[in-house]
Symmetry: C2
Subunit: 414 residues, 2 copies
């Protein structure tokens, strides 16, 4: 056991994706600082310390060579409004696929089908966008991170999803590293990250393996899927965030690398009438995880039902309704924030379940780790007794590693 | 021979597509009435009587259920600016595919791949858009037409391009008729048309056969393709607009139905240094055509070279450069307008070349009529002697029809 804390875990970060109550992300076309002010007042009232904001790439850069000054100015004004409420800001540079819609500039599909990272001309345009937005937002003291989008399992050229195509994966990694380097050069003070969807931890054919530096990110939208399959308040659903944080921690070469949990939430249609309990059980389990750096909730406000075309799952997972009433989830989150700020008990001397995950594990092999599989089932079963690490087999006898990850006992699989 | 003129041919209409000199159509995101004022001053100076304006559908209706008030207001303001220069306005409701880019709301591809007319939910959204925009623009006295886009050969479901699929063609016709009916109900005073690309007159698998009422429309972007293949000032290139107008007239059941020639132009990269001659030869040939109702030039202003990603052919066919200098084409067009307004000599007692085109001609058969084919070659050869009609075989002995179309002699094909 070690007393060394992973950096940043002294104070758990809490935030939320800002999905505007009025007009949703379409509101960027008619930006209103006052509408944002009302939303951020809601969020600050919960005790959050940050928001993730999602400018819409195609509206800022409608032409490859045109980055709209007003698009950037609107973003900066939103950031300044957040500062009025002492909220820090993570800027999501682009999304591509967002809430079931593809939001790409028309010049991207005009090139190859969705070769967002790999087409040379698309890359030129995207790099210019990344640099210009990063330089602009870095002028604001309350911005702390920029993230590349979209998740790795979206928007790759459709013809290249074969997990056996190592070249493509390698190229995606190179291109992602180039974009991260461009972001870092433009905004050296900021965390610059390429977040991964939860599925990237266990799905086949995930080409992007993340980048160096800063916390590892993991996004979990899987609560509902698991909750719908099993008991919404059962151990598999409520431990899912903790499980993904463990997979992310186990995938890092550095045992002290923190994990930033993003897009965690409880979609109301799938967790009816039990959302507050779902929030409490989720947060209490994951907050004990020594790797956890912060939580960014998805999302701030429900989607107005008048905004047609969204799948139900996208509509109702706001901390606030469209008319800005606190949901039970929000009240519960606020209460957890207050408690965890006062006292956060990190797991010590945890047992760990060994898995085959290693630096050379082919991505296709990760399906073993997917929810519903044998490894996951065993982890969920053992997790009921308390915090449980995931341990890569090749580190199972590395004492320093075990100590850094607060692992006490190594459990062999049954 | 008849003395009855097709309606509207007394005064030939001249207009141009408005492609803004500053920021091209992307400028809708940052609409400036003053910038439009400068452009329209340029165009009015040529003697044009109308402009075709192209609001961008995805920015007005970013969500299926959200039609932005400001998007409509910007459009109305543009129309009002046109009125300051006594310019009438044709509003292109949507484009879809425009200058090599697909401009669709994100909720359209989120449904089936490009089922713009046939997907039920897309149709609901599109109909609401058509109705709302039509109602709004009909409040302006200088608006005379709305056109549905895009051309029939774009944006159909990719899996349905087989010309043998009559059902699909029939469905597309039904859906188009529904949209036109919605437009007419919302704006009874206006011409409401579904324009066809030139290729629709001879290409296989064209599902939309146009709609009833108003002029038949034909869009020709083929000048450059023919000019590049043959002599840019040769008979095939300079008679191409006239040929398409003839095909359109020959396709109409009503021999007096006028034809509105749209998107005619001379892309400078393909007609270098001879653009003025190309304009003169094109206009003089087509202006004699008794079916011609009006000409809408493509387009008002060049595309700024800083707007990257456009194919060359999209860049330089403006009547004005981006810094608002008149091109030789513009000066020539202005001179033709002045002459034709003073005196337009319509062809009388024209000879006509018989073709197999009939109401039951399967679209796949139309390839016979395509530029480069035997029929077209013979028509071009005979056209050198003067105006020449295209005559459907089944009307070849219909005296009233021949008189209405000002056909004197019927030529058998050699």
């Amino acid at each position: 056991m070690t007393t060394q804390h992973p950096p940043g875990t002294d104070r758990l970060r809490f935030g939320a994706d800002h999905v505007p109550s009025a007009g949703r992300l379409r509101s960027w076309l008619d930006f209103s600082a006052d509408a944002a002010r009302r939303d951020f007042e809601d969020l600050a009232g919960l005790g959050l310390d940050h928001v993730r904001v999602l400018p819409i790439w195609p509206w800022i850069q409608p032409s490859r060579s045109l980055i709209r000054r007003r698009g950037i100015d609107d973003l900066l004004e939103l950031i300044d409004v957040a500062a009025e409420f002492a909220l820090e800001v993570a800027v999501d540079l682009w999304q591509g696929h967002l809430a079931s819609f593809d939001l790409l500039p028309s010049w991207v599909p005009a090139r190859h089908q969705y070769g967002v990272r790999t087409d040379a001309l698309v890359r030129t345009g995207l790099t210019a966008y990344v640099e210009q937005v990063c330089r602009a937002v870095a002028t604001r003291a309350n911005v702390f991170a920029v993230t590349l989008g979209p998740e790795a399992d979206h928007l790759r050229p459709a013809e290249r999803v074969d997990p056996a195509e190592r070249d493509d994966r390698a190229e995606q990694d190179v291109r992602t590293a180039e974009l991260l380097a461009a972001a870092r050069a433009a905004a050296p003070r900021l965390l610059t990250l390429c977040p991964l969807d939860g599925a990237a931890r266990h799905g086949p054919g995930q080409p992007v393996t993340g980048g160096p530096g800063g916390p590892v990110t993991v996004r979990t939208r899987g609560y509902g899927r698991i909750g719908a399959r099993e008991d919404p308040l059962g151990p598999a659903a409520t431990s899912h965030a903790d499980y993904l944080v463990e997979l992310a921690a186990a995938s890092s070469a550095d045992p002290l690398r923190p994990v930033w949990l993003q897009e965690v939430g409880v979609p109301r249609p799938e967790v009816p009438a039990t959302e507050a309990a779902a929030v409490r059980l989720t947060i209490d389990q994951v907050a004990a995880n020594p790797a956890l750096w912060g939580i960014t909730w998805r999302c701030s406000h429900d989607t107005d039902r008048r905004a047609a075309g969204f799948p139900d799952v996208e509509g109702e997972h706001g901390l606030f309704t469209v008319d800005r009433r606190r949901t039970p989830a929000a009240s519960q989150l606020a209460s957890r924030i207050a408690e965890l700020r006062a006292r956060r008990a990190l797991a010590v001397d945890r047992p760990a379940l060994v898995c085959d995950l290693g630096p050379d594990t082919p991505p296709g092999h990760r399906t073993e780790l997917a929810p519903g599989g044998a490894f996951h089932a065993e982890w969920v079963r053992l997790r009921r007794a308390g915090p449980l690490a995931v341990l890569p087999a090749h580190r199972a006898e590395d004492g320093a590693y075990l100590a850094a990850r607060r692992i006490g006992t190594v459990l062999a699989r049954t």
